[in-house]
Symmetry: C2
Subunit: 193 residues, 2 copies
Amino acid sequence: MSHSKPDPARRNEHSRRAILAAAISLISELGYDRVSIEAIAKRAGVGKQTIYRWWPSKGAVALEALGESLATVTDFPDSGDIVEDLRTQMKGVTQLLGSTDVGRVYQGLLAAAQCDPALSRAHLEQIIEPATVAGHARIARAQDRGELRADADPQEIIDLLYGAIYYRLLLHTRPLAPEQIDAALDIAFSGLR
Amino acid sequence: MSHSKPDPARRNEHSRRAILAAAISLISELGYDRVSIEAIAKRAGVGKQTIYRWWPSKGAVALEALGESLATVTDFPDSGDIVEDLRTQMKGVTQLLGSTDVGRVYQGLLAAAQCDPALSRAHLEQIIEPATVAGHARIARAQDRGELRADADPQEIIDLLYGAIYYRLLLHTRPLAPEQIDAALDIAFSGLR
């Protein structure tokens, strides 16, 4: 199964937005496994061939819907204070993923990705890598300015800080909450000693 | 669907071990979704009614198999050095989850748990909570001894450190590796400033 992005030039923007919104609301209501392309088409008011012409699978639709939601919060500001900028970005991500609709879409997608390597790769390419590249750049700039240790690997910093977000999203230990970001940044920047 | 533990007194230990081993090897080979109770019974050399008598679902079998594997590595030593003790425990967990068979079982279970609240709760009760209680106790002892900041919440420390393990397990960004534990502990204890 391919999850590559379709040619956007061929797509009608109004239908595209209706399809992505229908995917998010249906998955949120019924759960990822119980939603079909047919149901998404019906709610969006399009024919199912319209969806199949633009996306190869339900996973690809869900991934694009999730990516568009996340794009509203994943930019890293640069105020000159790395901790405050990470706090702003991470609280935005946490608030979005803590909302029932987007959170359930992401849970369903990552569940499906565990036994669908193509979907897992598409998730990395479309969601994780762009955010990671932006995070690396922001952290490296802070390192150049002497705001944090130059010997710390930006990727390990990202794994640690964002791991705590995915931990709650996927293990369901506690609801995602903005306070967890304050605690994570305090530990990571001030250290436990 | 209930995922509560069955009465162990009713179970034959030899069959129980054969069933858990069959569940791990089959899920590792075929993926969680493609394994049935019937297939587990066949490989274990028992009747499928034997499995249904002891476990209410495939998820319950997989959870018990995972729990027994993890029990070999989740104890927290107490050498008097909290960082070295966390390093020992976390590297043990990482090595086990980085192995193909146990890692795939855990990925499959957590995928299934995203749309099965009873399985998610059983995972928390049988896997996460016992390990978390032990981790809390070990961290609190280190706080009493002045080895780490008394104002840091042990649960936030656990979310941060173990989040980085689940991040790689479930997002498939990079394979789980012992070096990530060194990096995570260095950031968390020495801090990024």
